[in-house]
C-alpha cells in the first residue's frame, strides 16, 4: 500500500489509550487494573513508533538495505526504552498484587481497602 489516507495507527493508539483509561477508572479488580496500565503502555508505544514512519521507508539499518528513504530512528529507540520500562513496572505491580492477595484474600480494590481517611 503506497499511502494510507487516514491516520489509522494514530487513531488506534488514541482509542487504545481511551479504552485503557476506561478500564483504569471503572474496573475494581486489581488484575484488570494492571491490564489497563499495560494496555495504556501499549497504546502510547504504538503512538510513538508510528510517529516515525515515513511512507515507503526501510528500517534504519544499513546492512544490505535497498536504496530509498529510511524511517525515523529516534522513535524506535524511545519505544524500545519505554517497552523495557513497562516490563519493569508490570513485574513490580504483580508482585505487590500477590502480596495484597495474601494479606487480604481479595483482589477487589474496594474490599481490600483497609485504610480509611
Amino acid at each position: 500500500m503506497e499511502y494510507i489516507p487516514l491516520d489509522f495507527p494514530f487513531l488506534a493508539a488514541a482509542l487504545l489509550v481511551g479504552v485503557s483509561f476506561y478500564i483504569i477508572i471503572f474496573k475494581k479488580n486489581l488484575i484488570k487494573l494492571i491490564m489497563g496500565v499495560a494496555m495504556l503502555a501499549a497504546g502510547v508505544n504504538l503512538f510513538l513508533v508510528s510517529l516515525g514512519y515515513r511512507a515507503g521507508g526501510t528500517a534504519p539499518i544499513y546492512t544490505d538495505v535497498p536504496e530509498g528513504p529510511m524511517v525515523l530512528s529516534i522513535p524506535q529507540a524511545l519505544t524500545l526504552t519505554s517497552i523495557v520500562i513497562n516490563v519493569a513496572v508490570l513485574a513490580l505491580m504483580l508482585t505487590m498484587v500477590i502480596h495484597i492477595y495474601r494479606h487480604t484474600g481479595s483482589l477487589d480494590s474496594e474490599k481490600s481497602r483497609k485504610l480509611k481517611g
Partner: protein
C-alpha cells in the same frame, strides 16, 4: 512438572534458544537486535524450562546469588564503559578508530562488519548479561513466591 517428552524436548531446545539469543546480542550493531532483545530471547528459554520443570527444580541450577552477581556485573560493565569516555565526555564512543571494534564502515548501504561500532557491541554484551540475569531472577522469584516457597535472601 510436565511429561517426559516435554522435558526432553525443552532440554534440547534450550541450547538452540541460547545460541540464537547470543547471535542476536553479538550482531546487535549490524542487524536488527541488541542486548535487550537477545537477552529477552534467552529469558524466554528460561521461562520454557520453568514451564517444563517446576520452579523448585530450576532453583537448584539457577542460584539467585549467582544471578544477582551477574546482574550487578552487567550493569557495572555498562556504567564503566560509559565512564571510560569521560576523558572527552560521558558516553563518548572512545573505541571508534581503535583496533578493537573500531573500524568505520563505508557510508551508505553495505554488508555488515562485525568489528565496527566502537563501544556499542561491548555495551550490547553488558546489557545482554544484565537482562538475562535480571529477568530470569524476576521470573524465578515470582514463580517461587506464588507457589508458596520462601526465596533465599
Amino acid at each position: 512438572m510436565l511429561s517426559k517428552i516435554v522435558r526432553t524436548v525443552a532440554n534440547q531446545l534450550i541450547l538452540f534458544i541460547i545460541v540464537f539469543g547470543l547471535y542476536v546480542i553479538t550482531h546487535g550493531h549490524i542487524t536488527p537486535g541488541g542486548g535487550f532483545q537477545g537477552g529477552a530471547v534467552i529469558v524466554s528459554g528460561v521461562v520454557m524450562l520453568l514451564v517444563a520443570f517446576s520452579s523448585q527444580e530450576l532453583k537448584k541450577s539457577l542460584r539467585e546469588r549467582v544471578l544477582s552477581i551477574m546482574e550487578s556485573t552487567g550493569a557495572l560493565i555498562f556504567a564503566i564503559l560509559a565512564f571510560a569516555g569521560i576523558g572527552t565526555a560521558f558516553f563518548y564512543n572512545f573505541l571508534v578508530g581503535t583496533p578493537i571494534f573500531g573500524r568505520i564502515p563505508a557510508t551508505g548501504p553495505g554488508p555488515g562488519d562485525i568489528w565496527t561500532g566502537g563501544v556499542i557491541p561491548l555495551m550490547n554484551f553488558a546489557v545482554g548479561l544484565k537482562v538475562i540475569a535480571g529477568l530470569s531472577a524476576v521470573v524465578l522469584a515470582i514463580a517461587l513466591f506464588s507457589s508458596g516457597e520462601e526465596v533465599e535472601e
